[in-house]
């Protein structure tokens, strides 16, 4: 089932209910399979790359997500009016919203993802935990969603540190590690506010926080006929405040035996849950090689490309074919892992000011083109990066036959990634991937928050000041230049020998 571009397209037309890099990624996959495409967009995204790429584009409404990318009715309506057969939700927004999957089904549209009931069961983190326990997969001690007082008592009973998690949704939103009992109430209130704005539901559950652990997740594919295969793990321990920023495949901490056991656990759980389509089972892995179930992401992951590069399986093609009812012909014993892939997420954020989102206009954009490097990007030069959405701009993914070469390729790609006009985390990503602990593959989920507390963006070296001064000196300071006559009075006239415009 893995390379079927010569066959009949699985759908005639697909609507992609997302924006940015993931919408571009899915639109391209559709085009490769011969599927006509529909993009949807909000008013601020009218000239975004995903809109320009699609065969048709439908404006959903104002910029606010509730009026656009989260508006179930308008998206279903757009699919109906354009004659789309299927809807791909991408990640984020409505991807893990069972009501959306249900609304698609009721409108006669194929939702590219699991059935609504499965999304609901696994999306409820507490139910998912219990499902894992039934499947015989270890879980960490915890407490189901409850009111503030109950959760606080439960936290004391579990012992600090504890982890707060949104009962609905994923992506690390609302996740808080609480080490100090005195901070518990404050962290809980802040987590509730964050998740209610992201998922419309403020239920928070509690788990014992496992120190010094790795975040390892297993990619699975499941067809409608009960067949499930796993595509191995991704290492996602490099996180800043519970948000993944660098991911790789395979994990430096997972050997063939552990991979088989992790994979088998993921397959067992998803099979029991009646899972269909691509999904990810997340685990925490401790130093002794013991793993604990975290959650299931019932969608395509941001970091899916590292698995694609190492296994050779195009996950978005697979999603579309499975959604169209194709049988998974890939057998578990055929899955093989070749080389090493590592991904870094490029965000519009300002590392100097606590990584606050840094919207603005991209004045200059030059994405890297290097051997073994894939850039999944959702922006173009001249584009205004809006304030309303997740600040991801692109993902840089490097593949090589071995990990050191893949890391070296990633470093060069990040150094050659030119984004000017807004602040990005590129310098921070470079600091992370060149750090000795990361290079050695010796990191836990605490690595970034511990190793980079005093990190700051590099100061401009004298060369930068010299080049900037030379360019700036081409014109007199604004305000003075217009009124000044050329000639001897111009203090900059002496620089005319420069060959600049």
């Amino acid at each position: 089932m893995v390379g079927t571009v010569n066959n009949r397209p699985p759908f005639s037309k697909v609507l992609v209910a997302n924006r940015g890099e993931i919408a571009v990624r899915i639109l391209r996959a559709c085009q490769e399979l011969g599927i006509r495409t529909v993009a949807v967009y909000s008013e601020v995204d009218a000239t975004s790359p995903h809109v320009l790429l699609a065969d048709e584009a439908v404006c959903l409404g104002r910029a606010e997500p509730e009026a656009s990318y989260l508006h179930v009715g308008r998206i279903v309506d757009a699919a109906r009016r354009t004659g789309a057969e299927a809807v791909h939700p991408g990640y984020g927004f409505l991807a893990e919203n069972p009501e959306f999957a249900q609304a698609c089904r009721e409108a006669g549209l194929t939702f590219v993802g699991p059935p609504a009931e499965v999304i609901a069961a696994l999306g409820d983190k507490d139910r998912a935990r219990r499902l894992a326990q039934v499947a015989g997969i270890p879980t960490l001690p915890g407490h189901p969603p409850a009111d503030d007082d109950t959760l606080e008592r439960a936290a004391h009973a579990l012992g600090f540190p504890v982890l707060l998690k949104a009962a609905a949704g994923g992506g690390g939103r609302g996740m808080r590690v609480v080490r100090d009992p005195l901070q518990f109430r404050h962290a809980l209130a802040s987590a509730r506010r964050e998740v209610v704005s992201s998922f419309g539901n403020d239920a928070i559950l509690l788990e014992k926080y496992l120190q010094d652990a790795r975040h390892v997740e297993v990619q699975i594919l499941a067809d409608r006929y009960g067949k499930v295969v796993h595509l191995g793990e991704r290492e996602c321990s490099v996180q800043r405040r519970c948000q993944k920023i660098v991911e790789e495949c395979p994990s430096p901490a997972v050997d063939t035996d552990l991979r088989a056991r992790l994979g088998e656990a993921a397959v067992r759980l998803t099979q029991q849950a009646g899972y269909v389509n691509a999904g990810t089972v997340e685990f925490l892995l401790d130093r002794d090689g013991c793993f604990y179930f975290l959650e299931v992401n019932t969608r395509l992951q941001v970091e899916h490309p590292v698995t694609e590069l190492v296994t050779g399986v195009d996950l978005v093609h697979a999603q579309l074919l499975i959604a169209a009812g194709h049988r998974l012909s890939l057998r578990q014993e055929e899955v093989s892992w070749r080389g090493h892939a590592v991904e870094a997420r490029v965000y519009a954020e300002d590392p100097e000011r606590g990584f606050v989102p840094s919207p603005g206009r991209i004045l200059r954009l030059r994405e890297p083109h290097l051997p073994g490097v894939r850039v999944d990007s959702g922006v173009r030069e001249g584009q205004m990066v809006p304030v309303h959405y997740d600040p991801i701009l692109a993902k840089v993914v490097a593949w090589a036959a071995d990990r050191p070469t893949a890391l070296s390729r990633l470093v060069h790609a990040l150094r050659e990634y030119v984004v000017l006009g807004l602040k990005t985390n590129l310098a921070f990503l470079l600091a992370v991937v060149t750090h000795s602990a990361f290079q050695a593959g010796e990191v836990s989920t605490e690595f970034v928050d511990e190793a980079f507390t005093s990190w700051h963006t590099p100061d401009p070296p004298p060369e930068v000041l010299a080049v900037a001064a030379t360019v700036l000196a081409q014109q007199a300071p604004s305000g003075a230049s217009a009124s000044r006559a050329p000639g001897d009075l111009d203090p900059w006239g002496r620089l005319r020998g420069l060959r600049l415009p």
Partner: protein, 165 residues
């Protein structure tokens, strides 16, 4: 200001430089160093730049007196300052500025209230992430200039402070 003198702000620091044309090159005096610089625009926004013996392709974008420059793997922003910094360096910022445009979700202080350094003043939500704006110093709240539910611009003053050191 002497001919060739230029004041820049980069990485939060004020820097005074002097430029002297020397044939095809410019000599830039930065602190104690004199750097020979040669730049050529190979296409709009792309420079071939040689500083002393270091040769790099550099990318830039200019917004009036500000230049964004990608040099040797990193992006920097350098602005031209109108004046040299005073003897004590730049004046400390008096107002608390909103770090990014977004939705003002909560205001946590009232006019007349005393606040401690680091105390949360208000919360802005942008790109689904909450940003807490804190008091930079102990002070008293003079005025609150916006209400929760309003969109605020980056750089806007939402809470005016008075007093403090």
């Amino acid at each position: 200001m002497r001919p060739g003198q230029l004041y820049l702000i980069a990485g939060g620091q004020h820097v005074a430089l002097e430029l002297r044309a020397a044939g095809e090159e410019v000599v830039v005096l930065v602190g104690e160093r004199a750097l020979r610089v040669r730049v050529r625009e190979v296409e709009p926004g792309v420079l071939e730049a040689v500083v002393e013996d270091l040769r790099r392709m550099a990318f830039y974008a200019r917004e009036e007196d500000t230049i964004h420059l990608h040099w040797d793997g990193h992006a920097y922003t350098v602005s031209r300052a109108r004046h040299a910094a005073g003897p004590r360096g730049p004046e400390p910022e008096q107002d608390v500025r909103t770090p990014l445009p977004g939705l003002l979700t909560r205001v946590l202080v009232q006019p007349g209230q005393e606040v401690a350094a680091g105390q949360p003043l208000y919360v802005v939500e942008a790109m689904k992430i909450e940003t807490v704006v804190r008091a930079p110093r102990p002070a008293r709240v003079r005025r609150v200039l916006a209400q929760p539910g309003q969109q605020v611009e980056g750089g806007a003053v939402v809470v005016e402070l008075e007093g403090g050191p």
